[in-house]
Amino acid sequence: MFRKVLIANRGEIAVRVIRTLREMDIASVGVYSDPDRTALHVRMADEAAHVGPGPSAESYLRIDRILDAARRHGAEAIHPGYGFLSENAEFAAACEDAGITFIGPSAASIRAMGSKTAARQTAIAAGAPVVPGIDHAVSAEELREFASTHGYPILLKAVAGGGGKGMRRVDRDADVAGALRDASSEAERAFRNGDIYVEKLIERPRHIEIQVLGDRHGNMVHLGERECSIQRRHQKVIEECPSPLVAEHPEMRRIMGEAAIRAAQAAGYYNAGTVEFLVDENRKFYFLEMNTRLQVEHPVTELATGLDLVRLQVEIAAGARLPLGQEQVSWRGSAIECRVYAEDPFNNFLPYPGKITRLTRPLGPGIRLDACVYEGWTVPMEYDPLLAKLAVWAETREAAIARMIRALGEYDVAGIRTNISFFRQILEDAEFRAAALHTGFIEEFFQRTKTPEAPADVAAVAALVAAIYSDGRRANGAGPSAAGPSAWVRTGREELLR
């Protein structure tokens, strides 16, 4: 086993990896940029190395500096976390060249699953279902023929595309020619390539993914699914294990699990990975892509299976065989995770970095909190706004939702804005409770719900507290006050002087 491991990451995932390393009695090396000098992962690591200034391109993405830090500190392996260099085949290869173990799959597997079209080919070769489509430039004639086979709606996409440019939904034959012309000229302007391909459009899809885990000796298991349909700006915000849909149709877990394993094995995959699927309203599932790393939302799988995925990743990287076969993997109860971001849900979810002036964490039964924040820390503006992952476990989904609402009520973060109160609204929503989930859920939620009116006494307390607070502030020199300083005002003054 390794004696020392470097974590090429920051934030909550670096903290999470350090925790398991400590339990395994492996020394940890953290890396940090200038604004992260006092970040929690640096304070918690056994050793720490500076890798550059704030911008990621000059620090966390610098392969040379990360490897240099690993050499200087004598780290035998590198855990990449998620994001940054975690899905960079060049980095995985550079680690191996430097004689340092990359805790993840091989560079070849990362490449095989790296581009969407390459991954799609790998999946097709492995017999995994993909969204029906034509993978090359199409004519209007071909589009109409495709639609007659697979039905409308269909989705036109730019071959060179991204960011929604050159994308068009088409619902009937009469619109095909016009939509193709528009999409093509938009793609031409954006990418200097007007080629358009087509896919069947999946309406109101669910996003359900399968966690796989393989060793370097050819063994692979799946650890079940995660439902990640609650997204905003194409980013997951609430994840669950089990998926409520799969809980109702248990055979889906085995069928999707086996499809995921086939696709991963076709890429010669080992270590932890996730195969993402779209699931349509008839419960048909389609391969979307593979993430060749640990997922942000892995804690819900850990809570439901009782496994520590980071420990398994490290053991596999060190050459161990999988400690369990598929029959030994079991699931219990229901786990839900909310991603707490530094953003203002009342202002279009705009980011809100800044100093955390007060922090109270949820505690008690069934709570798991993976966070990188502490009172007095300034959330830097250079990085992703993910502050914490609040996960709960309970015997049933209903109990888990109740527990999450309870935990969110205990969570107080002041000084910055967070989406904590927004999660409460979602979790109390009847459609969410009925598990009527799809990737457009949040958009529809905003259209159909109004902000709930506060009960009169709650509003009265808010007004009272605001008045008392202002009165105290004024008595402390901010303005004239009619009353002499009461005991309470003195307390307020002492607080201000701290």
Partner: protein, 165 residues
Amino acid sequence: MKFSLVVNGREETIELLAPPPGSQFRLGDSPAREAQVEMASRGVYSVLLDGRSYDAFVEEAPAGLIVSLHGFRFEIEVRDPRRYSRAAAGRAGEGAQTLASPMPGKVVRVLAAPGDAVEAGQGILVIEAMKMQNELKASRAGKVLSISAREGATVAAGEPLATVG
């Protein structure tokens, strides 16, 4: 002591008749009520009203106070009745649009200069935070009167950055 408040955009008045912990208060014209109010820690108030327990969290924001309790969030502007009239008069007289930063961040681009004529909806500045960019636009046509922000400057939420008149 009487306060006029703007709570989530609605005007209200509250009169404090007795100080905490045995607070007596009157909301608008309704009868006086009593509440037990203790400050549990900085900005955190434990309030007992008619036997019910409320934990209220107060934060200062550029536009006033933010009070959170029981999953609700109240943006509250507290106006001092004597000073308010002057401030309101000043605001009404200006007639210029102030562009304030919607979030804490960095000014990455300044797209106009003082004296420039701008259209409604034209971008004036771009602010960036946490890998997201946000363009501040003129809400109506006019002339850029001032730009106080420079490229690369760090700004707070609500900080005025430019005026268009």
